[in-house]
Every structure is written in structure tokens, then in C-alpha cells.
Symmetry: C2
DNA sequence: AGATCAACCGACAGTGGTGTCGGTAACTGG
DNA sequence: CCAGTTACCGACACCACTGTCGGTTGATCT
């Protein structure tokens, strides 16, 4: 026989890039930046290791590229819930639901963007830190009127604490839900959103 | 001169072990298990790399040892708050305060034990997972009466969600506090504990 | 003081990672 | 059907890290 059963196929450069990025998301999320190897990413993308270097200058650049695109995806999906219609409890609930859905559908993206994994490289860490502060800022502005009603100024430390508790707490719920897939989205969303919303009043002392 | 300014000192084996462990806590927490190198730990302990192998069989065993001792320390410090006197809001507040204090005094230990860093080694990950479920269990039993008052059974999914939200949320606050050291413990504790406690009632639908 | 113990280290082998270079063969336009 | 582009790859150099072995020297006990 002249050929094996798997015919050697050539993809266009953008298509190959896309596949490599998709594989990189999984591997980076699963192992962390340092422990992830270019070889593992390449073979997960169904390609030799050198092909990866034909498309990306280095492991580092690939990582930054992946972070950027995944962050954009998350912003698009969850940010929509934040700026969506409704006010107060409804908007909070919608945002929680949007985040939980996103984390469910793209668990690797969630890990990459929010799980705190120090790389040692200040540049890389600062990129992640920038994403974090941007998310906190978005949630802060979403909750600003409700926080004010509770007696917390926008810049007050109490506001920052509430926002941080909310973001990390909901993320923890998302991680829990990932390991308990049988539970319905509505149930999880209800408990989390209600707990947080009911807790908001009477915070200042 | 015959000797340098730093005189070569020999420590007893337990003392040296202790110093190596202390250095390992910092390095493992800072870089993660995979990226941390034995050489970095050794030099942080003020000793050659081979000395480390005289005291620990491998990097892996050192890591497990460090995890165990740090987990014990956290259990002792925070667990005291959980089982402490008082019920309901007071007990929750005391636990939050205890955790925040612990995270403040031993940031590396907090990172090691609760920041989710996959190592790829199933054994190592399962140890961390066991710590996590133990913590969740402890918080669940602490909140059991209050959860029941809100209409949530101990084994219900709602309880698990609440506990997860609480643990990860308070941990997020601890991380935030670490980067804002000027804020008083009381203020942070008040906001977090009140938000969570006020949110507890009327959770079931 | 001298002998013994063990804390300490330099040097080595083995392994696995990143990034590079030249060549090969699959698509594509004429 | 032929030529040119380029997606693809094997092999290589280089480096960092883990774990080992023999020797050295500070501490301790008599």
C-alpha cells in the first residue's frame, strides 16, 4: 500500500493557527504555563512541534495570544449579562448565570483567566492582573447604585471587599458546579445570586 | 584574612530540615510545584542543593511534607475559630477573622493550600483535593443549624453551593486584603461576615 | 587531644525542555 | 501539467533541572 489510512492533510495557515490555539488553551489550563510543554500542545493540535514555531514566535507569545483571545471571548459572553437590561437583583442574577454558563462551556478558559497561577514572569503576571482589575471594575460599576444604597461609596474599601467576595465566590461556585454537572443552572444561580443580593443591605456600620 | 565575614555554621539535622521546609513553603507558593526548582529552594535555605537530598528523598516528598505541616498549621489556627464559642453570626465572624489573620500572617501557606494549581501528578492533586473537601465539610457542619433554618438540608445541593461560595469568597477577600495591608482587619471582617450572614436567610425557593 | 559521626558540598550522568535549520512534499495558479 | 509557494517535519544544539556518589570538614563525646 502506498498510503496509510490517515491521509496527510494540509491546512491553511489560519486554520492551523486556530487549531494550535485551541490545543494550547487546554494544555495551558490543564498544566499551567510553566509545566505545559510546546511538544504537548503541538501533538494535541495534531502537528509536529516545529510547525508551532512556524506560526508563533515562542511559547510565551502563544500564551499571550491565547490569553488575549480567551479574555475577549469571556468579556463578550459575560459582559453582555452585565450591561444587559434590568436593574438590581435581576442584573446581578443575569451576570451570575452568564458567568456560570461560560465557565461550564469553556472550563479551560475560566482556569486560564481567573485561577491565580504565578508564572514568575512579571510581564505575564501583569497581563493577568490587568484582566482581574478590569473585571473588578466592571462589577463595581454594575453594583455601584446598590452599594450606595447600602451606604458604601464607590471608592470605599467596603465596596472593594464586597466586589472581591462576589467575584471569587461566584467563581468558586462555578468550579463546584463543574464537578457536579447534574445540578441545574437555575438552582445554582438562584442560591448564589440570592445569597449575595440579600446580603447587600445593611453593610456599613 | 583567613575567613569570610559569614562564618560557616553547621546546624543540627532537625534545624536544617526546618529551614529547608520554610524555604520550600515560600518557593513552592511563589512558583508552583512544577516551576519551583530544588536548587532555588536549597539556596533560599542557605545550603547546597545536595544537602536537601540528605534530608528529603525527593522534591516530591519535600512537597508532601510541606503540604502536610502547613495544612496542620492552618487547621490549628482556623479550626479553633470554627469550634470556638458562640453560635450563628458570632461564630461565622470569628471564623472569617481567623482565616483572614492566618492568610495575612502566612500568605505562602494560604497559596499552597487553597490556590488551585494542577501539578499533573494525580497523587499530589488528590492530596490537595482531600484538604479541600475536609475544609468544606468543616464549614458545612459549622453552618448546619443556620442552613437548616434557611430551609436547606445538610446534604442538599444548596448547602454545598453556599459553603463553596463562602469559602472561596472569603479566600478572595483574603487575597485582596493582602494587597491592601493598610485596611484594618475589623473592617474587612465586618463587611465579609455581614454580607454572608445577612444573605443566609430565605435561600430556598 | 583524638576519634567518630554526620552535615555539607563539587562534580557527574541522565532526562526533558525550548528554539533553529535545512529539506520534503502538498496544495495552487498559470 | 509544470513551477512556485509554503505547510510541514527530522535532526540538532543548547540549557535547566533532578537525583547520585565520593570526599571533606565542623561538631561532639570521651
Amino acid at each position: 500500500m502506498a498510503t496509510t489510512d490517515t491521509v496527510r492533510r494540509r491546512l491553511s495557515a489560519p486554520a492551523r493557527r486556530q487549531r494550535i490555539e485551541a490545543a494550547a488553551v487546554e494544555v495551558f489550563a490543564g498544566r499551567g504555563y510553566d509545566a505545559a510543554s510546546v511538544g504537548e500542545i503541538a501533538s494535541a493540535a495534531g502537528v509536529s512541534r516545529t510547525v508551532l514555531y512556524d506560526h508563533f514566535r515562542s511559547k510565551r507569545e502563544l500564551y499571550l495570544q491565547v490569553l488575549d483571545s480567551q479574555n475577549a471571548a469571556m468579556l463578550a459572553e459575560v459582559g453582555a449579562g452585565i450591561t444587559g437590561a434590568g436593574a438590581g437583583a435581576d442584573r446581578l442574577r443575569a451576570t451570575v448565570a452568564a458567568y456560570l454558563s461560560f465557565a461550564r462551556q469553556r472550563p479551560a478558559a475560566r482556569r486560564l483567566l481567573v485561577d491565580p497561577v504565578p508564572t514568575g514572569d512579571p510581564d505575564l503576571d501583569s497581563v493577568l492582573a490587568a484582566y482581574r482589575t478590569a473585571r473588578a471594575q466592571a462589577v463595581t460599576s454594575m453594583l455601584a447604585p446598590d452599594l450606595a444604597r447600602s451606604g458604601l461609596q464607590a471608592g470605599a474599601t467596603g465596596s472593594a471587599v464586597v466586589v472581591e467576595l462576589l467575584i471569587t465566590g461566584v467563581d468558586g461556585v462555578a468550579r463546584w458546579w463543574q464537578e457536579h454537572p447534574d445540578v441545574a443552572l437555575d438552582e445554582v444561580t438562584d442560591v448564589a445570586a440570592r445569597l449575595l443580593w440579600n446580603g447587600l443591605p445593611r453593610l456599613s456600620r
